[in-house]
Amino acid sequence: MTEQTYDVVVVGSGPGGLAAAIAAKENGAEKVLIIERDIELGGILLQCIHNGFGMEVFKEDLPGPSYAQRFIQQVSELGIDTLLDSMVLEATPQRRLYVTNRKGGISTFDAKALVFAMGCRERTRAQIRVPGTRPAGVYTAGTAQRWVNVEGFMPGKRFVILGSGDIGMIMARRLTLEGAQVERVLEIMPYLSGLSRNYVQCLQDFNIPLHLKHTVKNIIGNKRVEAVEMAAVDDQRRIIPGSEEIIPCDTLLLSVGLIPENELSRQAGVQIDPVTGGPLVDSYFHTNVPGVFAAGNVVHVYDLVDWVTGAGKEAGRGAALYAMGKLPAGSSCITVRAGNNVRYVVPQRIDAQVLEQEPISLQFRVSQPIEAPVWLEAVADGNSITRRSVFYARPGEMLTLPLKPEMADGLRGAKEIYIHVNER
């Protein structure tokens, strides 16, 4: 077993990991390593061949692989080490990683600061307990995306898609362009779970019907999917008897949510927010374990990759500062809480002293859609700290509220800050 030491080690090379590694290097960390399980850098971006990436970061509309390539280029120019085709088997609270790969076998890496950037995994059929048989032809949208876009295979001819997540809608378009028939997209909730722009560009433009408040009641077929039984649901998401309809198809794609992938984080002792499924972090994306940071979708599921890049940069900067012993030790910790119609807020804690030095962006999602102008408001001890207005609030789209250094005064002595989303 070989042993090596780094200033910053980043686990995962999707948009969060790439940005973290680059930011770590740019902020003074000398030895930076990215460990990636696949044979090349880029993570899931490599299978996202559709456009829509980079409008915030580059003011350009790029496909996923092109977006990734800009960062991969920087990684190479900055002399960041990479270890590909390698899996981290174990992470300790002392920031030691045990890694396996074909070339070196088992090796260990000790990091002064560690950034977890494992992204997320897709929610599966079992987790939403779709009844029925267990034939071939039931796939998560991401698995199908990899087959179609990377491996060059079609996983079916006639599709039903359960869930209106972004990957599902994007795959509906992709499969249609590849000559498949996409019968329907079913969404159990009364609203879209992905971005509205994907609904317009991927479903509407291709005449693919979306059925809100509908789900799959049963999967039919022993060897390969032969049909699914769809049904309408009531406000409690219970199936409405008599609403059932059999849809012949050979494939059911699931786009029913993403779950941050935090098994390594847990091993390292990182506390997980039960709502986000990701670590509890501060504005540097520093977890409760000293020197362990989290970047991007591993913290919570972002709606746009550009925001993941931004979060990765913060985590990487924090990791570099920690590795150099320059990260400000937090003294006045304020808990950030989800208020009216807010499902969660990241970061879950902020430091007023840090806020005095630099702005902090709060990121959150609403519980229920409001299709009217809303106030996003931060309240501490009954006093409004800041608020801003947006045209609507939808669960599928992340909201942000910037806190500025001049607001630090109003937070002095506060223990908690509540974020509310109310109709104007």
């Binding site: 074909r102 599966t124 079992a126 071939a136 060059g152």
Partner: protein
């Protein structure tokens, strides 16, 4: 007739494979036929994964005798065949004072059946041993011989050991009829042609009635499949310390909550009769019933802990017990019937069929010997089936050593269960080659974790195709008709209207 065998075993479930393994000890040409694309893929792959101590079956029944006789065989068998087996003990748990007398009944029945190592545990002690237990627990019956095992692993290991000792296995080979001359079975007709034999052994499980009726035996015997639905919990979220049964009811042992050799808790099964012998669909009612039943014992279980669901079918029969004075109508059949010569007839091997399987195999051998079969032992019979490396169970030093020998063990394919490419390749080239995704999954436990194959599926399909020298388009989930992929992208297809 093309090929001649001394013995043809019909059905490659745990009973057929155990029978093949124990019978491979003797100078016999044996053919084991299995209609599915893999052995052990029906009832033997979808059950509660327990070896029962034997206090549950009706005293005097063949079920009780086989179960109790098999219990002491399992530790040695797992040592010889290298499958996962752990004598964890099991508990029947009484909730509330009204259930306590049932424990006495079970204890008495266990004693009558010859079960050793049972004792009572107080409610307080039960809560101490399992902090997640329902606080209303009033007491429990502990049986130290209760065990958890990998039922498919046991089936596979037995079959591989049989093959090592000369047994021929043919998969995708379905029994169609017997060839009978002068009331003697002289061969078996299959979808792959006829095979001659001196003995046929009916190990057809859910189809055992169909098979025996073809020989004119027990026309009244009928299999009524009884479905059991199960939930599997994420071991990162929820773990149990042992095996917990509720007090049993008339139909079944009830919905239990148990740990497994893989570390995941299993909940189930339901027990509902059905006509269809292939329908293993889960239902929302069934899954709800499992959840509610299990929460009676372990209230903290929540739907979000579930990572997988499955259902299995018990091959429940209607054979009356032939012990005088015992009125029981769902007994095992393990017999040489009078109606026809050359048949060892098994039927109704439902729960505790897995538990009983080694004893059933030995009883088959006794019956053959009693029927005058010489059963000469092979000089070179090898009872040891070696295990293949399992990365997740190894220390780092062991991992390093195995990667140095074959670097494919260094590449992780299933990130949740830590299954490597080396393990997949080894299973494709094993004595019973894994030839489908589910076959790989059952052998390695790949794809059974949190992501349920979402990550590994395209990778496994690729490796499987490469190792089998076929196209990925031909790769299946579970044999013919279950291909994952339909065509290449960018291919122009005919209009699909």
């Amino acid at each position: 007739m093309v090929e001649k065998y001394d013995v043809i075993i019909i059905g490659g479930g745990v009973v057929g494979c155990m029978t093949a393994r124990f019978l491979s000890r003797y100078e016999l040409d044996i053919l084991l036929i299995e209609k599915a694309s893999d052995i052990g893929s029906a009832t033997s792959a979808a059950n509660t994964a327990l070896v029962h101590p034997g206090y549950d079956p009706v005293s005097g029944s063949l079920k009780a005798r086989m179960n109790v006789a098999a219990v002491p065989l399992w530790p040695g068998l797992s040592a010889e065949l290298n499958f996962n087996y752990e004598r964890s003990g099991d508990y029947v748990v009484a909730i509330g004072p009204e259930e306590l007398p049932k424990l006495d009944e079970l204890f008495e029945r266990g004693k009558r059946n010859g079960v050793n190592g049972m004792h009572f545990v107080s409610g307080d002690e039960m809560r101490r041993r399992e902090p997640l237990m329902n606080p209303d627990v009033s007491g429990a019956l502990f049986a130290e011989t209760g065990s958890i095992c990998d039922p498919f692993g046991a089936t596979l290991a037995a079959a591989e050991n049989a093959i090592m000792n000369g047994v021929t296995l043919m998969r995708e080979t379905a029994f169609e009829d017997f060839i009978i001359q002068d009331k003697r079975i002289v061969g078996v007709r299959t979808n792959r042609g006829d095979f001659s034999c001196r003995w046929a052994i009916n190990c057809a499980g859910l189809y055992s009635d169909f098979v025996m009726h073809k020989a004119g035996v027990r026309p009244d015997f009928k299999i009524t499949p009884r479905k059991g639905e199960y939930l599997i919990l994420d071991r990162a979220e929820f773990q149990l310390r042992s095996v917990y049964f509720p007090v049993p009811n008339e139909v079944s042992k009830g919905i239990l909550a148990t740990n497994t050799v893989h570390g995941n808790a299993i909940l189930g099964p339901t027990a509902h009769e059905q006509v269809d012998r292939e329908d293993k669909a889960n239902s929302s009612d069934g899954l709800q019933e499992v959840m509610e039943g299990a929460r009676k014992l372990i209230p903290a279980i929540e739907p979000r802990h579930v990572i997988a669901t499955f259902a299995g079918l018990r091959a429940a029969g209607n054979a009356p017990c032939d012990t005088p004075g015992v009125d029981y109508r769902h007994d095992f059949i393990v017999e040489i019937p009078a109606e026809v010569r050359g048949l060892v007839n098994l039927g109704g091997i439902e729960s505790p069929g897995l538990s009983s399987s080694p004893a059933i195999a030995l009883r088959v051998i006794d019956l053959l010997r009693d029927a005058g079969e010489p059963l000469k032992e092979k000089k070179d019979w090898n009872p040891i089936r070696p295990a293949r490396p399992r990365f997740r169970h190894m220390s780092y030093a062991e991992r390093q050593a195995v990667i140095q020998k074959d670097d494919r063990y260094g590449r992780m394919v299933c990130r949740c269960e830590n299954v490597t490419e080396g393990e997949i390749v080894a299973e494709v080239h094993a004595p019973i080659p894994a030839n489908s995704y589910d076959a790989i999954k059952r052998r390695t436990w790949l794809g059974t974790g949190r992501c349920q194959g979402g990550f590994d599926l395209p990778r496994v399909t690729h490796i499987l195709a490469r190792e089998l020298g076929q196209s990925e388009l031909e790769m299946t989930k579970k044999g013919p008709g279950s291909a994952f992929l339909t065509r290449l992208t960018k291919q122009v297809e005919e209009s699909h209207d």
